[in-house]
């Protein structure tokens, strides 16, 4: 990403900028969740917005996730455009029904009588030793279920554009940001490629359009969220060793841009899929199955998955590193798929 210009922002800042713009321009937009008003959201998603918009539009909630997601759903049905901040993706556990049975199904079951123009923001993923209940990615738990768009941007440009699009969408949209890509202070120096030069004006990005992060001819790596940066690190290293890697970031899990993925694999004939979520019944199998069901003879070698090997996420650093889709693991997978 070109950072020569003036405004290079982190993902959290970029997303927040979109929220701010939409709140300024549409009085029906409001935000609610734990610790948004004074704290600005645990992952900086609402930083300073409390002061600007006040406690009535940046609404602190009790620790009642089922309650406030249900409440936001009702507010959306009644004409508001709520943005719900749910700090950790792990917490979908305590409000899964409100998400999947209520918010996601209202439009369909009411035959469109009621729209649910709501955004649910989740901070996902680990890699900073926060233990098994605060480090999960979990996007497949949401993407598997009908009735919601699921987006997982990997950089600030996408973060802003998708946030504008999500807020303006009349559909229920789940917006997942990997915590360590957020660029929030306590995660150390931001991942350089997660930051982008950000135009002042608002813009939207279409859901369901993958981004080719890097072109290449030997291997396609499909990666999402934080794993995109790991894939890029691996790709850059292997470039030196003469392997040309194409990195595709689908950016949205629902809708999933299967076409772009398939086109890339048509070119390379080799596929590695990298994802921080649990491996089985997840993102990696969906990508692989999507390719093979339309191109059964495309593979020069067996596709490889780099995901959490179906294990609870351990706290201790060496163990946690073992289960993450690190650049080292992705690199090894690329080498293996080239054999």
């Amino acid at each position: 990403m070109n950072m020569s210009n003036n405004r290079v922002l982190t993902m959290a800042r970029a997303g927040r900028e979109a929220v701010k713009w939409e709140m300024e321009n549409d009085k029906n937009v409001f935000m609610l969740g734990e610790d948004v008003y004074k704290f600005g959201g645990v992952f900086g998603t609402a930083d300073g917005l409390g002061e600007i918009f006040g406690a009535d539009r940046i609404l602190d909630t009790p620790i009642s996730e089922t309650g406030f997601i249900g409440l936001a759903t009702g507010a959306a049905i009644a004409g508001m455009r709520p943005i719900v901040e749910l700090a950790f993706a792990d917490f979908i556990g305590v409000c899964y029904s409100a998400i999947v049975n209520l918010a996601a199904k209202h439009h369909y079951l009411s035959n469109g009588e009621f729209k649910v123009p709501m955004v649910l923001m989740l901070g996902s993923g680990g890699g900073y030793n926060n233990g098994g209940q605060h480090s999960q990615a979990l996007h497949a738990c949401l993407a598997h279920m009908p009735g919601m768009k699921v987006i997982a941007p990997s950089n600030a440009y996408d973060a802003k554009g998708f946030m504008h699009a999500a807020i303006r969408s009349d559909d229920f949209v789940v917006y997942m940001g990997q915590k360590r890509t957020s660029g929030v202070g306590f995660f150390g120096a931001p991942i350089p490629d997660s930051m982008s030069e950000i135009p002042d004006e608002p813009y939207t990005i279409e859901f369901g359009v993958a981004r080719t992060v890097k072109e290449g001819t030997d291997v396609t790596v499909v990666a999402i969220s934080w794993a995109v940066h790991q894939a890029m690190d691996a790709a850059k290293e292997l470039e030196k060793e003469g392997i040309s890697v194409e990195v595709i970031d689908p950016r949205t899990l629902v809708p999933l841009d299967r076409e772009s993925i398939i086109n890339s694999v048509r070119k390379t004939g080799r596929l590695v899929v990298a994802d921080e979520d649990y491996q089985s019944y997840g993102f990696t199998s969906e990508v692989i199955a999507s390719v093979i069901e339309s191109e059964p003879n495309v593979f020069k070698s067996a596709p490889i998955r780099v995901a959490n090997p179906d294990t609870t996420i351990p706290y201790s650093r060496p163990m946690e590193q073992q289960v993450l889709p690190t650049s080292a693991r992705i690199k090894q997978a690329i080498l293996d798929v080239m054999k």
């Binding site: 009790p62 009702g74 009644a78 049975n101 439009h107 009588e113």
Partner: protein, 326 residues
């Protein structure tokens, strides 16, 4: 505030409409599920939770509400929907899965929706709590003055969502009312076996809410307390819990023989449509023969709606695939 006589007669008519609709549904439900009962068979498949016996709760509360108010109903939504004035034909079509049902057959009996009537429902226990509170909040934010009312059963109170939303409504002082229809049973589990205290309205103290209780299953008494409830909620003082003692005359769902309900309790079941008719006649609000002609009228209306629904076409199967998104 007690309802005037015009309202009372209208409440009575509405109770009957709900009752006769449920009677016809029951008849049609069983009809083509014999000799081997198959829940998937016939004109009306799936579970049906009829409102037999609880009609008083619906009219006594809904009749106090205005156009600006929002309702979320429970898995047992017929009486509430009828009281809200939703078209009987459209309800019946939805319950028969017809193309011209409220949701074109996508929803079904537990999922009645009408934008015009600001009416939603949900089959997951207590899941209407959050939405109704959110509708109350939205009404306040938009300066529209509406309140949000969530209907549920006494057993639903023990679901976590109930507590979370009651507390939030207390904290935000939302114009929100939770109407609890206490028919003493959650499927086969009695209130005493599921609830640590006798009255859920006493739980109001946990939420800085107003707790009200009506033990008569009488529309007038319910109307009276609901008036108090709405005044309180509209005043900005905070939420209300209104618990109404009632009776579940036809079991949890059609086909449930209620073996688990003690015989003495069954003998004590009251039918609010009969009690209210007698009351109105005794008080001279209507005569016996007026009552008879109301019943006949309503039966005709409902029967006509049933015929309409039966004749209505099923939706195209392909419709299943659209509508998840706007």
């Amino acid at each position: 505030m007690l309802p005037d006589n015009e309202t009372r007669v209208k409440m009575y008519r509405t109770m009957l409409t709900s009752r006769h609709m449920d009677d016809r549904i029951m008849e049609l439900y069983y009809k083509d599920k014999t000799p081997v009962f198959d829940i998937a068979a016939g004109l009306i498949p799936g579970e049906i939770h009829s409102s037999h016996g609880q009609e008083a709760c619906a009219v006594g509360t809904v009749f106090v509400l205005g156009q600006e108010d929002w309702i979320t109903a429970a898995h047992r939504p017929h009486h509430t929907a009828i009281a809200r004035g939703i078209c009987v034909k459209k309800i019946l079509c939805e319950i028969m899965g017809k193309a011209n049902g409220l949701s074109a057959g996508r929803g079904g009996h537990m999922h009645l929706y009408s934008k015009e009537h600001k009416f939603c429902s949900s089959g997951i226990i207590a899941e209407g709590m959050g939405p109704a509170a959110g509708m109350a909040l939205a009404s306040r934010m938009q300066g529209k003055g509406g309140i949000g009312v969530c209907y549920l059963g006494e057993a639903a109170v023990n679901q976590g969502a109930w507590h979370e939303v009651m507390n939030m409504a207390g904290v935000y002082k939302l114009p929100f009312i939770c109407v609890i229809e206490d028919n003493n049973w959650g499927v086969s589990v009695s209130k005493a076996a599921s609830t640590a205290i006798a009255r859920n309205s006493d739980r109001a103290t946990s939420y800085n809410a107003l707790g009200l209780y009506v033990d008569s299953n009488d529309p007038d008494d319910i109307y009276n307390k609901m008036t108090e409830a709405t005044e309180y909620a509209r005043s900005g003082k905070g939420p209300v819990i209104l618990e109404l003692k009632t009776y579940r005359l036809q079991g949890h769902m059609l086909g449930d023989p209620q073996h688990y309900v003690p015989e003495e309790e069954k003998l004590a079941f009251r039918d609010c449509t009969i009690d209210y008719k007698n009351k109105l006649v005794n008080e001279g609000v209507i005569t016996e023969s007026e009552a008879d002609s109301i019943i006949a009228d309503i039966k005709n209306e409902v029967d006509e709606a049933v015929e309409f629904a039966i004749k209505s076409p099923l939706p195209d199967a392909q419709n299943a695939l659209t509508g998840n998104f706007v």
